[in-house]
Amino acid sequence: MKKILFIEDESALQKTFGEILSQEGYEMISALDGEIGLRLAKDKKPDLILLDLVLPKIHGFEVLKQLKTDKETKDIPVIVLTNLEGIGDVDKALGLGATTYLVKAQYGLEEIVEKIKKALGE
């Protein structure tokens, strides 16, 4: 079973995604802030990371940077899933090595699951 790490501080979203991802046959690991997210990425070696940007303790951009500079985690695909849509945010995230940048408000659950499958090469 493939593991997906979801770094997101809203527990309601964690619950929704836990439900849909388990339906799709994935194991979801949840992290409610950037610090826990980084630690779990190293410990659990997920197949994919879903990353929010506005996070407590360590900001998403910093999390992404650390993930992509650490030898152990740099090959894990990261999908940024956020409502931040400022100028340069997308370019910055992709420049740091994110696979895809999704604005929450623009996608339905099904579409996000599609993107996850694509990033996992399924």
């Binding site: 309601a12 929704t16 439900e19 400022g86 929450k104 408000a105 339905g108 099904e110």
Partner: protein, 315 residues
Amino acid sequence: MNLKDVFSQLNIFTQCKKYGLPLWQCPHFLFLLMGLIIIGSTLGVYLIGSRYVESPQAVALITLLVTAILFIIAFIVTRSFERLAEANRMKSEFVSIVSHQLRSPLSNLRWIIELLNSGKVDSVSEKQLEYFKVLKENSDRMRELISDLLIISRIETAKFPLKKKEFSLVELIKELIKGLEPLAKASNVEVKFEPKADSPKIFADPSQIQLVIENLLDNAIRYIKEKGRVGIKLKRKDGDLYFEIEDTGVGIPKEDQKYIFQKFFRSENVMRYQTQGSGLGLYIAKSIIERSGGKIGFKSEEGKGSTFWFNLPLK
């Protein structure tokens, strides 16, 4: 005001950029221009005065005094303009922050509705499905409104860079028609678009032009009651690209026509037929077309239909 503030005030280009104003509309630049003219004329008066008047020093002193007073008045005027602009910018920023904050809980709602609606959590009855549909439609409306508000706040705070490139409108229009086909079918509207073979390319931001055409097409379909037609034309005209969309819809009453591009304006006859819509679409369309160097307009007759057009500079 400390020294650093004074220096940053003096950098006209950054100041004007902050408000997203062109130079000739920017108070700081106008102030500087006025200063230069005053200094120039002071010197001129002094030179002329020194030829014809007994004590040119007195003339110079008076002129300098008048100059100083003018400068002070100009400074006050500039400051008040600045405050106005600042207030407007803060309002737009406030809208932007609120909209962003609204987005997060709204995506939670939408996704949970989608999850429940899919029947994957628990089986759903016919009646519940009906209500889920209402919930979904309403959350979609809210999402569109928030997205419109964000676009506007970006336009107004000048944080809306155009990523211009060369492209053809034909494919974009075809895609949009395809996307709106369900709406057209449901409203019994036939959308016609026959592009000419030599359809020219334009130099603009595709994602922005898409917003404009999407708004115009959506309006055209939405405001046709019963059966109707929408025709789209694309051609070269006077060295520009000319886009036209004609519908057989309800039309815009004469007394409403001058307000149609205003923010939040909704025509009364439109309100009668249609409760949806934010009244922001045409305002957004006009802002984008004008920022892209084009013009937008329309002609309309109540009960017969409307024709909206815009032109854009060719590559």
